[in-house]
């Protein structure tokens, strides 16, 4: 029995549309996307001999990566959602197997969103990467937890791809400008809190 004939599931196009709109329906769309292809985890265990935990991690990373790509408009719909997702999942499974079978120790380097880094020229990128390598990512994450709820939500929504205008609607701010000012103030607050303990 095909479950899709008996259970009213949203269509791929609806999930993609809800993800792109960054509205209140986005979280539900993320849930639908995760649930729709959750059987990939079994594929990870069966085809790639991963443990359930590793297969779950790989699948979670696949979904997070897919959400990021869909919301930023990088999914062009040339193949079906399933085919596209399985390709990402397959590549991540292969990466995971390589990681498990080689003894190379992981290089501890703060990985910055490549989309942001791509703005910089190579020379500037190298300078910035050196500065980032000197930063304390663990401390920064800790300090983040101590920011107020409002600040954390503002920064989280922005990092999740919401524009200031969309954040204004979601969090009921008057304008996108107010959101921007508040968000940058939160960033400054985080910086002061971080510098206080780092120095």
């Amino acid at each position: 029995m095909d479950p899709e004939k008996t259970v009213p599931l949203p269509k791929d196009i609806d999930i993609i549309e809800d993800l792109r709109q960054n509205s209140s329906g986005r979280r539900k769309a993320e849930e639908h996307l995760f649930n729709r292809f959750v059987y990939f985890i079994r594929e990870g265990i069966r085809k790639y001999s991963l443990t359930e935990e590793d297969a779950f991690d790989v699948y979670s990373d696949t979904i997070l990566s897919a959400i990021g790509k869909i919301t930023s408009g990088l999914f062009e719909g040339r193949s079906s959602l399933k085919t596209w997702l399985f390709r990402i999942f397959h590549n991540k499974c292969v990466d995971q197997i390589r990681k498990l079978t080689t003894n190379k120790s992981k290089i501890h380097r703060t990985a910055i969103d490549p989309a942001l880094l791509s703005h910089l020229t190579d020379t500037a990128k190298s300078v910035i990467q050196q500065l980032i390598d000197r930063s304390d990512a663990v401390l920064l994450k800790e300090r983040l937890k101590d920011l107020g709820d409002n600040c954390r939500k503002l920064l989280a929504l922005f990092a999740d791809g919401y524009s200031d205008r969309e954040i204004a609607v979601t969090m009921e701010y008057k304008t996108a400008e107010v959101v921007k000012t508040s968000r940058l103030r939160c960033l400054e607050k985080l910086r002061q809190s971080y510098n206080l303990l780092k120095n």
């Binding site: 979280r27 991690d57 997070l64 020379t123 980032i132 939500k153 960033l187």
Partner: protein
């Protein structure tokens, strides 16, 4: 424009070509500016990481739920019917056991509470509250958008009526417009003249439903506060905490 705003605009692609070049030159010539830019990226990454951790924790819950769900999942290999039947029986037995003994998620707890206690509102006997009566009737007949409009309209004319704020919050909770629900419950919480004020309890319920990063922890702390201070909803809060 200060550094951080300039950097923000740079990464959002809002600068002209000339301004972009100036930013890149400043990275090489102004160490303080380069530090600002590096911090902007590191902070953004820290937030992204935290967000990914929170989402993975949520995915874990979804996964655990999917394993016990009655809905069969697609598989490229069709199992033998005999094995499938045996597996289904096993899943029902284990699923029943799991459903009986598991700790439900905060959202599940909130859903159960809403289903049990917030599907209808008590009809008020006062003859002076026509709009309120109509709003409650609409709510009870599940016409939630109409009920929301009427409760809000009533609240505009009676800003001190605690039921109007409370019911406006409840209807938006049911409509899953959590930020609006919180707005009304916070408005209700600000009224310190009430002997019985369940605002904090309802705020907690809303956070349990909304589930943004940090909402669960905050909801639990609020429920604890309701119990400790014996606020409105105290007994329900105790029950929810016992199942958490």
């Amino acid at each position: 424009m200060d550094s951080i705003e300039l950097i923000d605009d740079y990464f959002k692609g809002l600068l002209t070509g000339e301004q972009q070049k100036q930013v890149e030159q400043r990275i090489l010539s102004d160490p303080s500016f380069a530090e600002d830019l590096a911090f902007y990226l590191s902070a953004n990454e820290a937030v992204r990481q935290q967000l990914a951790d929170d989402k993975k924790a949520w995915f874990k819950e979804l996964y655990e739920r999917s394993k016990t769900s009655a809905v069969p999942r697609k598989s490229p290999v069709r199992p033998l019917y005999v094995l499938a039947t045996a597996a289904a029986i096993m899943a029902i037995v284990l699923g029943g056991w799991w459903l009986f003994f598991r700790h439900p998620s905060p959202r599940q707890l909130a859903d159960d509470y809403v289903s049990a206690k917030l599907m209808t509102l008590g009809v008020r006997m006062s003859s002076t509250r026509d709009t309120m009566q109509t709003a409650i009737e609409r709510y009870n007949s599940n016409d939630l958008p109409a009920a929301a409009a009427l409760f809000e309209s009533f609240l505009q004319h009676h800003p001190d009526d605690e039921y109007a704020a409370q019911y406006s919050g409840i209807v938006y909770l049911r409509l899953k417009q959590y930020d609006k629900a919180l707005h009304y419950f916070q408005q209700l919480a600000a009224d310190t003249t009430l002997y019985y004020n369940p605002a904090l309890f309802y705020q907690s319920l809303t956070l349990m439903e909304r589930r943004l990063p940090g909402d669960d922890e905050k909801a639990k702390a609020m429920l604890q506060e309701v119990v400790n201070r014996r606020l409105g909803g105290n007994e329900d809060a105790q029950q929810l905490l016992s199942k958490w």
